[in-house]
């Protein structure tokens, strides 16, 4: 062992006096790693990928699913590399019982260190470029962009839906249909939607899961998010920011329907709710609830029951 201390360089120098050469650990680990990655990466990308959340119901959801697939495929060799190495070390480099001697005094290896730094930096920068492309080319990836969005769908036919969060219910206003307010979220297929998300009291977060949209609802702020539904069906809307007592019960359901069915529904609802819409404050991008008259009456008329009603008596200090 005395001669081992001379060079901390290439770690594969065979020990003097041993009949067999030291096994090439580095090569073995590399082979194990490459084989495992070659097997697992395609499985992750092709088999698991299409089933990854949040599904492909909208443009932003499909985008996120693709993102997650790529991230998982890149994470797989990273995870496998470390785990295989550790497993190999724990199998082959354990101290034998009664062996109290030290290991070789290797302080470092410039080549390995530089390679590692270069490789990790490359992966990270590649991920950054990939993430930015995915963010920019799909109209902001369904995330809330604030009041001045910079990644918008280049279409002249964007449906505007205002999402109003309040403790503890979601309501939706359609300014292009007279500004009626409803608890039903219906969207037409294949038309870009612009969600204008705001809140009347505390911070909520509008998370339409299958649509891949998440935008925080801040009081006094308009937070805009875009997506384009690609399949009909139902989706869940949950509040994703703790907003008080009934945060856990603050959810409802929406549907994506055909454009014709949507038009019918919108026009019908506009007519049905005309008397209520007159009582509402005029459509605006943000609201100050202390300035809204008749808010309590409107809530009752709209039938916001369950978590949003009944626990909010009209004489509560939060109510004007």
């Amino acid at each position: 062992m005395a001669t081992e201390a001379s060079t901390p360089g290439p770690p594969e120098a065979p020990e003097t006096g041993e009949p067999a050469a030291e096994p090439r650990h580095g090569l073995r680990i590399l082979i194990l790693w490459v084989v495992a990655s070659v097997i697992c990466c395609p499985i992750v990308y092709f088999v698991w990928g299409p089933h990854l959340p949040p599904g492909a119901m909208s443009s932003s959801a499909a985008n996120q699913q693709f993102d997650l697939t790529v991230l998982a495929t890149i994470a797989t060799p990273v995870f496998l590399g470390v785990v295989i190495y550790m497993g190999y070390a724990l199998t082959f480099w354990r101290a034998k019982d009664g062996d109290e001697t030290d290991g070789p005094p290797i302080h470092g290896n410039a080549k390995i260190q530089v390679t590692w730094i270069a490789a990790t930096s490359t992966i990270v920068l590649a991920l950054f470029v990939f993430g930015t492309i995915e963010l920019v080319t799909v109209q902001g990836a369904g995330a809330g962009q604030g009041p001045q969005p910079i990644w918008k769908p280049d279409s002249s036919n964007i449906l505007q839906v205002q999402v109003i969060g309040q403790q503890w219910a979601w309501t939706y206003r359609y300014p292009q249909f007279g500004g009626f307010e409803t608890t039903q979220l219906e969207l037409p297929l294949n038309q870009p939607v612009e969600f204008n998300v705001t809140s009347l009291d505390v911070i909520h977060s509008f998370w339409a899961y299958q649509l891949g949209v998440k935008a925080d609802a801040n009081p006094g702020v308009n937070n805009i998010a875009y997506t384009t539904p690609k399949h009909t069906g139902g989706f869940v809307v949950r509040c994703a920011e703790l907003c008080g007592l009934w945060h856990g019960a603050m959810f409802n359901y929406g549907t994506v329907v055909s454009p014709a069915a949507f038009q019918t529904w919108a026009q019908q609802t506009e007519t049905q709710l005309a008397s209520v819409t007159k009582m509402l404050p005029p459509y605006a991008l943000t609201y100050d609830p202390t300035g809204i008259a008749n808010l309590g009456k409107v809530l009752v008329q709209l039938g916001i029951g369950g978590a949003g009603g009944g626990y909010y008596p009209p004489n509560d200090p939060e109510q004007p």
Binding site: A5, V83, G103, I106, V124, I150, R238, A249
Partner: protein, 651 residues
């Protein structure tokens, strides 16, 4: 140079009049925890009365439920009363009055446990105080977690009312994040850093002791908010919900701010000790990796925690003095709170992670019997993480409606931070290369930490990708990520460090078989609890909810049962800890791990002043396998060596 070679004079801190011998008084007459409690109660009563007197004329705030001034003033005066009762002002007041300083805090007998309940200036006593306290805080927070998982067994049948559930969620999160800020710096940092750098004391013993005694205050104040209905915001305390909330919110703000102050004090002391109190020969390139971790953690705390204290202060003034920092309708902004909180909050999580890196980097060379591979890379990794951690906080706000231009920028910085974090893995893997690995309990915990943090770190990179974050933000995916990094990383490392250094700190070895049982049960049930939560989050369950989709019930039940079993594994630890330290007391006074660390070259536990003479450090602590390596230090330097070194530096 800060090494004192003149005898301390009577009027210097800690010195005393030669003639003024302290009177021998029974323990219940000397200021200690019991007088502190008395002071706290009296202080609270006074503060509450004062608050009622000055604020009875205030009208109700538009977005607040009640008048919080008496409660806030009560807490503040209570803290002051606690400190007065503890006797920390006794000697400074004596000095101000020109009377002889008694300096009794340093004159503690070697045996006995009374000194652990007093304001004691020996950093080793403070370390032990912190150790027991931190274990207590951790287990309390864990009990709340058991309640959360019990509630989440069913999506429709509720064990707790919504308000009780939110209280429990908030208490669990805040207890853990608040208290675990100092879980390593407190017990292990305070105890070991002077021993590791070759110093007889810390730079500011009074500040260090004060930092400890603020923690029981913060703990009690946080729990006291349960008496008035708890706080509904979770540990993040987002305004305007925190402004709207009831009286329990004040307990949160005061406790968190107080803990921030405690951590700033502890960090400040550690940083100055490391920079100024290193023994001759303890160059930066010979500093143990644990000390590098304490240094970087200390800097992070000193720079980031004040922002937290400021944010908590603003919550308190918004709730009592009718300011409107965070109320949109009155001209404030909810974004201000989010930014203040997360500007602290992100360095906070690295404050939690870095000590974990330091502990495992310290443990693995000992049990691989090899030098730490890439010492400079490891130190650079810690520095890189610390510096970059100030530039990433907006990733908590990706969906909040921040300026969209900011998002690619913060995605870049967040992804960049994984590079220095990766250095820790490079160093570990290099250390394992052709090593002679011994799977002792500390080594098992270190290996567990590397595995868990790998998963946690990779999930962090997924979260840093803004499109992927759209689904993951605010969901159980985030929960799984931070539990993997904080619990799987820091807490596993903490237990590793505890099993490793308890022989040093208390001269007692923890039972090895129970230790292995503790590790394996904790590792298996930890992974079985938190790995499914990635899926639960991605499948649409938000955080902090008590109702979830029915198709997620099976996963949630699996997670809950695993969590209960994880709690059992921690009970195994508690049994091991209590039995080993109080009953079995298997003595271990030497260097059981045959470590080259400087702290191991003195007896276990160390003598009162750590070293009989200031050591001269001759080589680094990781020189295993090199027969030509010098011993780590000369503990008995010949006469004149230190004087010669000093003369050399001043010449």
């Amino acid at each position: 140079m800060a090494i004192e070679i003149q005898p301390e004079s009577a009027q210097a801190p800690g010195g005393r009049e030669p003639a003024a011998e302290p009177k021998a008084r029974p323990w219940w007459l000397r200021p200690a925890a019991h007088t502190a409690l008395l002071g706290a109660i009296i202080g609270y009563a006074l503060g509450h009365l004062l608050g009622n007197a000055i604020s009875s004329g205030y009208q109700q705030l538009p977005l607040s439920d009640s008048n919080d001034t008496p409660i806030v003033l009560g807490y503040l005066f209570g803290i002051l009363g606690w400190l007065i009762g503890l006797g920390i002002f006794n000697d400074p007041v004596r000095q101000m009055l020109g009377r002889p300083v008694i300096g009794q805090e340093e004159d503690e007998p070697v045996g006995g446990i009374a000194k652990y309940f007093r304001y004691t200036l020996d950093h080793k006593v403070v370390g032990i105080q912190y150790l027991f306290a931190m274990i207590g805080y951790f287990l309390t927070g864990g009990l709340f977690a058991m309640a959360i998982r019990a509630e989440l067994l069913s999506p429709t049948y509720h064990l707790l009312t919504p308000s009780a559930y939110l209280e429990v969620v908030g208490e669990h999160g805040t207890m853990m994040m608040m208290m675990m800020t100092s879980v390593v710096l407190g017990p292990l940092g305070n105890y070991l850093v002077p021993l590791m750098v070759g110093s007889k004391r810390v730079a500011f013993p009074r500040i260090e002791a004060l930092s400890f005694w603020l923690t029981p205050c913060a703990f009690i104040i946080l729990l006291s908010s349960l008496l008035v209905g708890g706080f509904p915001t979770g540990w993040t305390g987002y305004a305007p919900l925190s402004i709207q909330a009831g009286e329990g919110m004040d307990g949160y703000a005061i406790a968190f701010g107080l803990m921030g102050i405690s951590a700033i004090l502890a960090a400040f002391n550690i940083v100055v000790t490391i920079i100024c109190y290193r023994a001759p020969g303890m160059r930066w390139s010979r500093l143990p990796m644990f000390v590098w971790a304490m240094l970087t953690t200390g800097f992070l705390l000193v720079l980031a925690a004040p922002v937290l204290v400021g944010g908590m202060y603003m919550i308190i003034t918004d709730r009592t003095a009718q300011t409107a920092f965070f109320v949109n309708q009155l001209g404030g902004s909810s974004y201000l709170y989010e930014d203040l909180f997360w500007f602290f909050g992100h360095p906070e999580v690295y404050i939690l992670a870095l000590p974990g890196f330091g502990i495992v980097s310290e443990i693995i060379p000992v049990f691989c019997r090899k030098p730490l591979f890439g010492y400079k890379i490891a130190a650079a990794g810690m520095l890189g993480v610390a510096i970059l951690s100030f530039f990433v906080w907006q990733h908590h706000l990706f969906d909040s409606g921040i300026d969209p231009d900011m998002r690619p920028l913060f995605m870049l910085t967040t992804e960049l931070i994984s590079i220095p974090t990766g250095f820790i893995y490079l160093v570990a893997m290099g250390t394992f290369w052709k090593a002679k690995i011994r799977l002792t309990v500390p080594m098992l915990f270190a290996l567990g930490m590397y595995f868990n943090f790998l998963i946690g770190g990779i999930s962090g990179v997924v979260l840093s990708d803004v499109p992927a974050d759209t689904t993951s933000h605010g969901s159980f995916f985030v929960m799984a990520h931070f539990h993997y990094t904080i619990m799987g990383g820091l807490i596993f490392a903490f237990f590793g460090g505890l099993y490793y250094w308890l022989p040093k700190m208390m001269g007692i070895k923890l039972n090895e078989r129970l230790g292995k049982l503790h590790f394996w049960t904790m590792f298996i049930f930890f992974n079985s609890t938190f790995l499914p939560l990635f899926a639960v989050g991605e499948l649409g369950q938000p955080r902090r909810v008590f109702e979830y989709a029915r198709n997620l019930e099976t996963l949630n039940d699996w997670v809950s049962i695993s969590a209960f079993l994880l709690g059992v594994s921690l009970l195994i630890f508690l049994v091991n800890f209590v039995m080993s330290t109080l009953f079995w007391r298997v003595r271990e006074v030497g260097n059981p791990w045959r470590s080259r660390g400087l702290e191991w070259q003195v007896s276990s536990p160390p003598p009162r002043n750590n070293f009989a003479h200031v050591p001269v450090v001759l080589s680094g602590p990781y020189e295993y396998g090199d027969p030509k390596a010098l011993p780590v230090a000369d503990l008995n330097p010949p006469a004149g060596v230190i004087g010669g070194v000093l003369a050399g530096t001043e010449a």
